[in-house]
């Protein structure tokens, strides 16, 4: 049995026929070749497969592809469509990437947070990425990368730069 679905991935429409027992993660990676979304635990615990479904972060490993019918999906490829997203640049600048396996999921969760709340405090950032495991960095660099994309932090940085110029 196959189920017809229409999904929009990174702005492009796809008409697919999927087996009901396939999850969205596998369809993205295997059928659409979007391997930026990572497969970690497959059990909704590690967050590596985090994508944005209608702008909200979800685990693509626990979502039946058939249930994504008529939904808008953003993967890391869509976030980087016009060159590196400010979050990606910040992750590089702050050393928030080591092995990189958690990074696409982290960026997606962080993007959803900043879209909903452009100036989160540290607790809100930590809560937003609580479902994303990183086994390399210890999270400090990741939190500081996300913080550096908030207006209060960028103002602070501008102010610091201003002072040093004087």
């Amino acid at each position: 049995m196959r189920v017809p679905i229409n999904i929009t991935v990174n702005g492009e429409e796809y008409h697919l026929e999927v087996k009901p027992n396939r999850v969205l993660l596998d369809v993205l990676r295997e059928d659409l070749g979007l391997t930026g979304t990572k497969k970690g635990c497959g059990l909704g615990k590690c967050g590596a497969c985090t994508i944005l479904l209608d702008g909200r972060p979800v685990h693509s490993c626990l979502l039946l592809a058939a249930q994504a019918d008529r939904r808008q999906i953003t993967t890391i490829e869509g976030i980087a469509a016009e060159g590196p997203h400010p979050l990606q640049a910040a992750f590089v600048a702050k050393g928030a990437v080591q092995c990189g396996f958690c990074t696409p999921g982290m960026i997606n969760a962080a993007k959803a947070l900043l879209d909903a709340n452009p100036d989160p405090n540290e607790a809100e950032i930590k809560l937003a990425i609580a479902g994303n495991l990183c086994r390399c960095t210890g999270y400090n660099q990741i939190v500081s990368a996300i913080q550096s994309c908030t207006p209060s932090k960028s103002e602070l940085q501008t102010a610091e730069r201003g002072e040093s110029n004087e």
Binding site: V23, V58, L127
Partner: protein, 297 residues
């Protein structure tokens, strides 16, 4: 992890879903957000032949209120409940508890109806809904029934839901007087962790604002189902807030009697009992303190 093949049908509406469920009976399994079902299908603990998806049923995704009660559609997502302004103002204990479920990713997909029907003994939505005396509206093809949540859970993963029935909505009577509530959950990680023990405590003052007219205490993760602790509630009901504050220890000790926890990989039974004692104590102190200081909702 592969999922065994199954037939799939996305219902366009509730009536159609109930028809289809009536047709296929126990062979069919209903899927809402799927955060539990898909996981169970991956682990091969649930192997449905046919899955009926409710994800298009926007008619069951709502929070509606009037003067006396609030109705919550079964397909309302945890993230939406946790952020709902009306619920945050009137029933904050529910927002607190569902805000602790899984991770942001899970709360964006998982539904309150799914959390109830999955019937985990440790379901975070259950203790607050129990102390709020929630009623469930359950529909089948032919008839609609009202079931108190207190008699809905029949065992781990088991409910009073019969073949052919779908949970439609949750109804909660709004408190008349000033209330305060508190939900405490013990877990080893700050996210994506099942509750080792959870305690919900809700108290309502009488019209004088100084006595306790109603007290609700419910425990999660420490019995085959989420349970109320009526004997512990009775210790405090009718007392003035000052009197009640002196009885908090007794209340907590008696609440432990309602627990019948098991030893498992996450915690021992005796540790869980201790936690119930400690959490009921902490919840009661906080709630009674809030009411005494004129706080609450």
């Amino acid at each position: 992890m592969r999922i065994r093949p199954f037939d799939y049908w996305a219902a366009p509406g509730l009536a159609e879903a109930l028809n289809e469920l009536d047709l296929h009976g126990a062979d069919a399994k209903v899927i809402a957000g799927g955060t539990d079902l898909v996981l169970n299908m991956k682990k091969k603990t649930i192997l449905p032949r046919r899955v009926i998806s409710l994800h298009n049923l926007n008619e069951l995704d709502f929070v509606k209120s009037d003067d006396s009660r609030v109705r919550i559609g079964a397909l309302t997502k945890h993230a939406d409940l946790a952020a709902n302004p009306f619920l945050k103002q009137h029933l904050p204990i529910l927002c607190e508890a569902v805000g602790l479920i899984g991770s942001w990713q899970i709360r964006n997909v998982g539904t309150i109806g799914g959390n109830i029907c999955n019937a985990s003994p440790a379901a975070d939505s259950a203790p607050p809904l129990l102390v709020l005396n929630a009623q469930l509206i359950v529909a089948s093809k032919t008839v609609e029934k009202k079931i108190p949540l207190a008699s809905f859970f029949t065992g781990p993963g088991e409910t009073a839901l019969e073949t052919g029935q779908i949970l439609k909505e949750i109804v909660i009577e709004l408190p008349r007087q000033r209330t305060a509530g508190c939900y405490l959950k013990l877990r080893r990680r700050k996210a994506v962790d099942v509750s080792l023990a959870g305690v919900a405590f809700q108290a309502e003052t009488g019209s004088d604002g100084k006595t306790l007219a109603k007290v609700g205490i419910a425990l999660g993760g420490v019995a085959p189902t989420p349970v109320r602790a009526p004997e512990a509630e009775a210790v405090l009901v009718g007392l003035t807030l000052d009197e009640a504050l002196t009885k908090v220890s007794d209340c907590a000790k008696i609440a432990v009697k309602a627990a019948s926890p098991i030893d498992d990989v996450r915690a021992s039974a005796s540790y869980r009992r201790t936690i119930v004692d400690v959490f009921v104590h902490q919840c009661a102190q906080k709630v009674l303190g809030t009411l005494k200081n004129g706080g609450g909702n």
